[in-house]
Amino acid sequence: MTLLRHLAAAVVLGVVLVLLTIWLDPFRQYQIAEIATYVIAVAGLTALVGLSGQISLGHGAFMAIGAYSAALLLLHLHWPLAAVLVASTVITAASGAVVGVAAARLRGPYLAGATLLLAVALPSLALSDPSLFGGDQGLTVAVSTPAFLGPSFPPTRWQAWLTCGCALITLVLLANLARSRIGRSWRAAGDDEVAAALAGLNVARLRVLAFVVSAACAGLAGVLLAVTTSIVTPGAFTLTLSIALLTGAVLGGLGSLAGAVWGSLVLILVPTYVMDVATSHGLSSSAGSNIPVVAYGVVLVVVMLLFPDGIQGGLVRLYRPLAARVPRPHWRGRARRDTAPPAAPAPQPRASASEHQEEGSI
């Protein structure tokens, strides 16, 4: 039932996107491809942070793994694109497993610190072997438009179709996962580990699985990034990228797949607009390139303090009378309380407990 609903929504969205790519100019088509790529990565990250309660500041590194593995497979083994997509995703998922296992015991700030190090260390790994990884210049990726589309099919439109198709598939899979038993288990373990463990959940395995899934998404996004930009360099996968992904997830609403879409839209569309405004007012381009970073920082702080449920949460609140059955994105952690009520027999109703009944987010 749920699967059907998700598929139907995906089909409708797919049709809309196809029409858009036919109607809009090539630059907009490229932007659609960019947005779709980010949606995949942000969706994986929002599931990791919002559902399983683990933070990652290193998802840019997973994108790099996906991108570089794809570039190498294309360059040296000349695999077809479909095979590369699958293989790179699997490779990145495996790396996600490694990180997940290493990080399984880490919580909160320690996990953030470890993933931060991952984000910082991995690009330098790419620089360590210039013959293999192409050093600073990176590796070129050349994927031509498939023959069956005809010789005059615009490459930007084909890339938009490719990325949007992957994005829709990813969203459907994640949506089903979120509503499945695994998704509920993630939320249970993320809310209260001890309770989840006592209820029989294998918390460590769930945490690793969350990393695997989100890394796979990031890896796929990395491949698509390589395809659409035709190049893979260390400079494309800096810490700023990891932060941007987190910003997109937070802004959209942690744990919400629709939020991943909103967040990605903002991430791609707003900075270019803001930078244009800034440079037209005389700001140098190097200074101007920092404006998005400043904006990310402000967004993270303001959203976390004032609107923790992000855009999707805000929309849901606005339209709650109309769409009372749309579930709220799940973002609950354990609040720090100085004053809990006395240890009386009646258990205190925790905000998160009531949310367990809710379904996953769209």
């Binding site: 004053t339 809990a340 009520p341 006395p342 009386a344 027999p345 009646a346 205190q348 109703p349 905000a351």
Partner: protein, 246 residues
């Protein structure tokens, strides 16, 4: 005990009017009213979850009341932050004692009077505490976490007294203590009353509490179900069995 005539001229040391408070969506106190005469002990009794601890917290400011008033010697102190209530003369010894284990005994004591002005006053308070509580003097440089249960209770009461409060809120001082030690604590509380302190004493151990109290207030499900002189409460068999379990 019956000299209430002398007290009618002065305002009650502590008056609670229609106090309501709770946690999250639930109300733990639904309109509590009580008055405490100066230099007396009022025992607040009732079963687990009746709202006794919540009452003390709402008075001392740990939780913000949702309705009603708290008057200290006639002054409205409702909803003030705990720091301000402490500086205003209300000392709250919380449930679980609240010993800061990482600090020494002496540091815990000094903490109680830090906000007071005047080095001599603070030094005098410390000397007085050591005189009254010899066991604390013996252990003054030890980490507070090394104290036994009874010693900790002494420490937190002594610490509360460092501020020279007008009203002392004691939450379950007998919890986890051996009967002999409980008797010690009760004796101490009675002595403090003789010295002029006003005490609001929350206790599960109703028998011990009523043995030293002047007045008793019984709570059930967030409401007052009985207010009477302690002796009367102690002899009301029906009330005792229904609400107090003995």
């Amino acid at each position: 005990m019956g000299e209430s005539a002398a007290a009618t001229a002065e305002p009650d040391a502590l008056a609670v009017q229609d106090l309501a408070a709770g946690y999250g969506g639930a109300l733990a106190l639904r309109g509590i009213s009580l008055t405490v005469r100066p230099a007396s002990i009022t025992a607040v009794l009732g079963a687990n979850g009746a709202g006794k601890t919540t009452l003390l917290r709402a008075i001392s400011g740990v939780i913000r009341p949702r309705g009603g008033r708290v008057l200290l010697h006639g002054r409205d102190m409702t909803g003030r932050a705990p720091e301000d209530m402490a500086r205003g003369g209300v000392a709250h010894v919380p449930e679980g004692q609240g010993v800061i284990g990482e600090l020494t005994v002496e540091e815990n004591l000094r903490l109680g009077a830090l906000w007071r002005r005047g080095r001599e006053a603070r030094a005098a308070a410390l000397a007085e505490a050591y005189q009254r509580f010899r066991v604390l003097a013996d252990r003054r440089q030890q980490a507070a976490s090394t104290l036994s249960g009874g010693e900790r209770q002494m420490l937190v009461i002594a610490r509360a007294l460092m501020a020279q409060p007008q009203v002392l809120l004691l939450d379950e001082p007998s919890l986890g203590l051996a009967p002999r030690v409980v008797a010690q604590v009760m004796r101490l509380t009675a002595e403090l009353r003789e010295a002029g302190l006003t005490v609001l004493l929350v206790e599960q151990n109703a028998r011990s509490a009523l043995s030293i109290a002047d007045q008793g207030v019984v709570l059930n499900l967030g409401q007052v179900v009985a207010t009477a002189e302690a002796a009367a409460l102690a002899t009301d068999v029906q009330l005792r069995q229904h609400y107090l379990g003995f």
